[in-house]
């Protein structure tokens, strides 16, 4: 139990640092191609334990989002997307519930749920997160084509990094 909390705290800090110090510069530094933003921190929300109360998931989403915002100097933009993703998580989990149901003591990881299930779940979560994020970043649907283009390009690259994260750590919970 304590190890689960400790693991999630470490994941929180590690993701914020790598997102805010490494991936931020990759995305922002590319002036010729402004469509690529590598965003991996939603994996924190994706991997939270299954028995986490809904309200707590949303609060934690807000916490990591606003922390990333401090690095990006875009107060509220990442936070609103993270809150949105955290809000959708329980609904998505209910839709994707396997035949036997969930073991509430587990987390929705590849080790527990299988790689195929995890990739489907993580990619839907990430895609929704990115779409919401780029919509808020533009703050208008006038540039819907730009928003979709950014979402798709960033989704493909970010997903690769999430798979790498999965291969590197293969977290149990």
């Amino acid at each position: 139990m304590n190890s689960i909390i400790a693991g999630n705290v470490l994941r929180f800090l590690g993701l914020v640092i790598i997102q805010g110090l490494v991936f931020k510069n990759i995305g922002v530094g590319w002036e010729e191609f402004p469509y690529l933003h590598i965003i991996v921190f939603p994996i924190f929300i994706i991997l939270l334990p299954l028995r986490t109360p809904r309200a707590l998931i949303i609060l934690l989403g807000f916490a990591i989002g606003i922390t990333v915002d401090f690095f990006y100097n875009s107060l509220g933009v990442h936070a609103s997307a993270a809150v949105f993703t955290a809000f959708l998580r329980p609904f998505l989990l209910r839709i994707m519930e396997p035949r036997g149901g969930y073991n509430v003591n587990y987390s929705p990881t590849a080790a527990r749920m299988g790689l195929g299930w995890f990739l489907r779940y993580a990619s839907i979560m990430l895609f929704l997160h990115l779409f919401f994020y780029f919509s808020v970043e533009a703050f208008t649907f006038v540039y819907i084509v730009d928003i979709l283009l950014k979402t798709i390009v960033s989704f493909v690259v970010s997903m690769i990094f999430i798979i790498i994260y999965q291969l590197l750590f293969n977290p149990l919970d």
């Binding site: 807000f62 107060l75 509220g76 808020v136 703050f139």
Partner: protein, 278 residues
């Protein structure tokens, strides 16, 4: 009560979501230049529409006062038209002064009673002797002639409408010298007869008919209508001309009463000549 609490508990995550999103969006608008620009522009767009609508509504309530103000202004402007004055220029050897002195004044009035469906139609106007109205003054609007004042009390004036069988307006064809009396046909409120136009006159359908200025009642050049039908009876020397009036008498509300300041002078002179002849 318990059910309500259960429902609230069930919805608690939704409330948390809504509250946090509101916080996020207020932060975004407050601290991010680009997004706040979009926000301000969008809000201005919608409040602009609302403000426009409310201003339009407010103006609508002001229309009555505005009408009265415009009618007054119109009467002042009409007085300054060239044909509302007589030319008192003196053509001497050296000096040529082109000065106009007022011959007509226009007093705005409101129609408080009107009829169009009788053989003898009358209008009642809300201006009378107190306002300087005299009998046999002309009544016009900016679109055409309305009638002639018949009787005046202190506060009211009764005018015989142009839709009166005995009203004759001295009319001419614009741009041509031919003139004759215009009289209502007695049926359609827009149809009039123009008489005394000789058959050699170059009139065509669609010509404009206006007041001739030969009477002392109306200044010249006030619109009356256009020629609708033109025919010539065999053996007659005059055209039968049907004129469609420019003014719909059933809708008039504001009119101007014309006062010819030089009428008595002109009439006295004419009468003196007639007396000499007798």
């Amino acid at each position: 009560m318990f059910n309500l609490l259960q429902l609230l508990l069930k919805l608690s995550s939704f409330f948390v979501f809504i509250v946090l999103e509101i916080i996020c969006f207020s932060l975004i608008v407050k601290y991010n230049q680009q997004q706040s620009d979009v926000y301000v522009n969008t809000v201005n767009h919608f409040t602009g529409v609302v403000q426009e609508k409310s201003a339009a509504t407010y103006q609508y309530f002001q229309l009555y006062d505005e009408n009265i103000r415009l009618a007054r202004e119109n009467s002042q402007l009409l007085e300054r038209l060239a044909n509302a004055g007589i030319n008192v220029q003196s053509e001497t050897d050296t000096a040529y002064t082109d000065s106009l002195e007022a011959q007509y004044t226009f007093i705005e009035a409101k129609v408080i009673k009107n009829s169009v469906n009788q053989n003898h139609n009358y209008l009642v106007l809300n201006k009378g002797k107190k306002d300087g109205i005299t009998e046999h003054s002309g009544v016009v609007t900016e679109r055409g002639v309305v009638g002639i004042v018949r009787k005046v009390s202190d506060n009211f004036a009764v005018a015989m409408s142009i839709l009166h069988r005995q009203t004759r307006i001295n009319a001419r064809i614009r741009g041509k010298v031919f003139f004759g009396p215009l009289q209502w046909k007695g049926t359609d409120t827009r149809l009039f007869n123009l008489e005394d136009i000789p058959k050699h006159a170059p009139v065509i359908k669609g010509d404009t008919i206006e007041t001739s200025g030969y009477s002392t009642i109306f200044p010249e050049g006030i619109m009356l209508g256009t020629i609708e039908k033109l025919s010539l009876d065999p053996g007659s020397n005059f055209f039968n001309i049907e004129v469609r009036s420019s003014l719909d008498m059933s809708t008039i509300q504001h009119v101007y009463i014309v006062r010819n300041l030089l009428r008595s002078e002109q009439e006295q002179l004419e009468q003196a000549v007639q007396k000499e002849d007798e």
